[in-house]
Amino acid sequence: MYLIDCPHCGPRAQLEFTYERTMDSIAPAGADPQEAMRVLYSRANPMGADDEVWRHTYGCRAWLVLTRNRMTHSIDAVRAVGPETLA
């Protein structure tokens, strides 16, 4: 059970979070259809760190990008995504 340092809530148990997908699966806006499908179906799936989209679903509901190592499970960075928020 990871401890994920939510930029909005502080460190919380993984049970409050859900994994959605890797950043490398999201095609840039305006990509042509073939390129978008290629991106959707190609994952680097590295045996090391990767950028992943998670959501604090059972907490603040915000979306986060975790840089997480798939071997050690260390979470090296957590970044908030979404609209501007009040500090």
Binding site: M1, Y2, Q14, L15, Y19, E20, R21, T22, Q34, M37, R38, L40, Y41, S42, R43, A44, N45, P46, M47, D50, E52, W54, R70, M71, T72, H73
Partner: protein, 422 residues
């Protein structure tokens, strides 16, 4: 090689069992092979066996970075069945199931295939209709499937909670009588021993670190592999590494529609027989059976985020155990003895990927998600065909790698390209 038989054991009883030879050789790698298979799991070893046995391709090496059968072959919950809803899947898996029925004799190694029945429980009329649909699809394609009533379920598994007030009451089940379990390690060892006899080199502790490519810029066809035990030439190379598919394919610059996730399983202390079949639930996501040693073997959903660490998350097993106890309350006081994990190769439609890659002479067999063990004979048979001929076998043709970008996915659960939604 000694032939295995009860007489051999009797003979050994007099001589302290000293006459048994190694089950497979421990050869040094040769300079090159007609076919190199990367991955000494059940699928890779079966592929090698059928290459030698069926196609006469005996100059074959199986390269295993650790010890054979140590990946998902030795970590799964040993269920064998073929009762998928979609025809390309049930046709492939049932081809395999028919092979399971004779595998011990075929290999002269008892893989303990035990067709004690694979039962999907239905918890509502809606579940039962879905199960009937699946059963009808199977029966129309000549595969066994029977709808069981509540009473029939209770007869097979007397310890299931049949009360109407159960949180997920039992309305019936879909039974595949020919389904069951097998001894997972024996499958790897049996194929290894049988392949070894036919001349296949099984090379353990040999990790592939790169591909040798021809062409001026090194981007042409694969002609060999770099390994921790040196360069090995190859006519064709078949990747067969389950959860590590992405990593090995990545050595050739490929990105696959595969994400590696952890799947955990649990076994209890051994007790006398109490679970007679393999029980799965349609609405919940748990499955349970009892090993021949008496341990109750259980599993549930994967830890549905990427990982290679073989370290699970405890609440995932807590949920699977809660679901299992809700179905079979008498399990409550048994003790969980051991948990373990495998790295599953979750494909983006839930179906395997077998066939050529965009790199010439490089083939892939992976994406089995959490259901590859039962396919071992069929996977090996059809992959051997593909590696021997360079062409798809009719049974693996629907599972080509290009199906994703073409839009021809085989999506049994219909949840689309996100494996964690499956």
């Amino acid at each position: 090689m000694n032939r295995y038989s009860v007489f051999g054991l009797m003979r050994g009883a007099l001589g302290g069992q000293k006459h048994w030879q190694p089950a497979w050789r421990d050869p040094e790698p040769r300079a090159s092979y007609d076919v190199v298979i990367i991955g000494g799991g059940g699928h890779g070893l079966a592929t090698a066996y059928y290459l030698a046995k069926v196609h006469g391709v005996r100059n074959v090496a199986v390269l295993e970075k650790s010890w054979i059968g140590g990946g998902n072959t030795g970590r799964n919950t040993t269920l064998v069945r073929s009762n998928y809803r979609l025809a390309p899947l049930h046709n492939l898996f049932d081809f395999g199931l028919k092979m399971w029925e004779h595998l011990s004799d075929e290999l002269n190694y008892n893989v303990m295939f035990s067709p004690r029945g694979a039962m999907f429980l239905g918890h509502s009329d809606a579940d039962m209709t879905m199960l009937a649909q699946r059963g009808d699809a199977l029966r129309c394609d000549g595969i066994d499937a029977e709808l069981l009533t509540r009473d029939e379920v209770a007869k097979v598994e007397p310890l299931i909670d049949m009360s109407r007030t159960a949180r997920f009451p039992i309305e019936g089940a879909l039974m595949q009588p020919r389904g069951g379990t097998a001894r997972h390690d024996a499958v790897a060892w049996g194929y290894a021993r049988a392949a070894d006899v036919l001349g296949v080199d099984i090379i353990q502790k040999c990790e592939v670190t790169g591909f040798v490519r021809d062409g001026a810029d090194g981007s042409g066809a694969v002609v060999g592999v770099e390994t921790t035990r040196g360069r090995i030439g190859a006519g064709r190379v078949g990747i067969c590494v389950a959860g590590h598919s992405g990593q090995v394919a990545g050595l050739a610059g490929l990105k696959l529609p595969i994400e590696s996730q952890t799947l955990q399983a649990v076994v209890t202390e051994g007790v006398k027989p109490m679970v007679n079949s393999s029980v799965m639930s349609q609405s919940l996501h748990c499955y349970v059976s009892q090993s021949d040693k008496g341990g109750i073997v259980m599993g549930g959903d994967p830890d549905n985020w990427p990982s290679y660490a073989r370290r699970g998350q405890p609440t995932v097993i807590e949920t699977a155990i809660a679901q299992t106890i809700a179905i079979m309350p008498a399990l409550s006081r048994l003790r969980m003895l051991r948990t373990w994990s495998g790295v599953t190769d979750m494909s983006f439609d839930g179906a395997p990927i077998i066939g050529p890659t965009p790199v010439r002479n490089l083939f892939i067999n992976g994406g089995w998600c959490y259901g590859g063990f039962k396919a071992t004979p069929a996977s090996g048979w059809t992959y051997a065909h593909t590696l021997a001929t360079g062409a798809a076998h009719p049974l693996n043709a629907p599972f080509a790698l290009d199906r994703f970008v073409r839009g021809a996915t085989v999506d049994e659960t219909g949840v689309g390209p996100m494996p964690n939604h499956r």
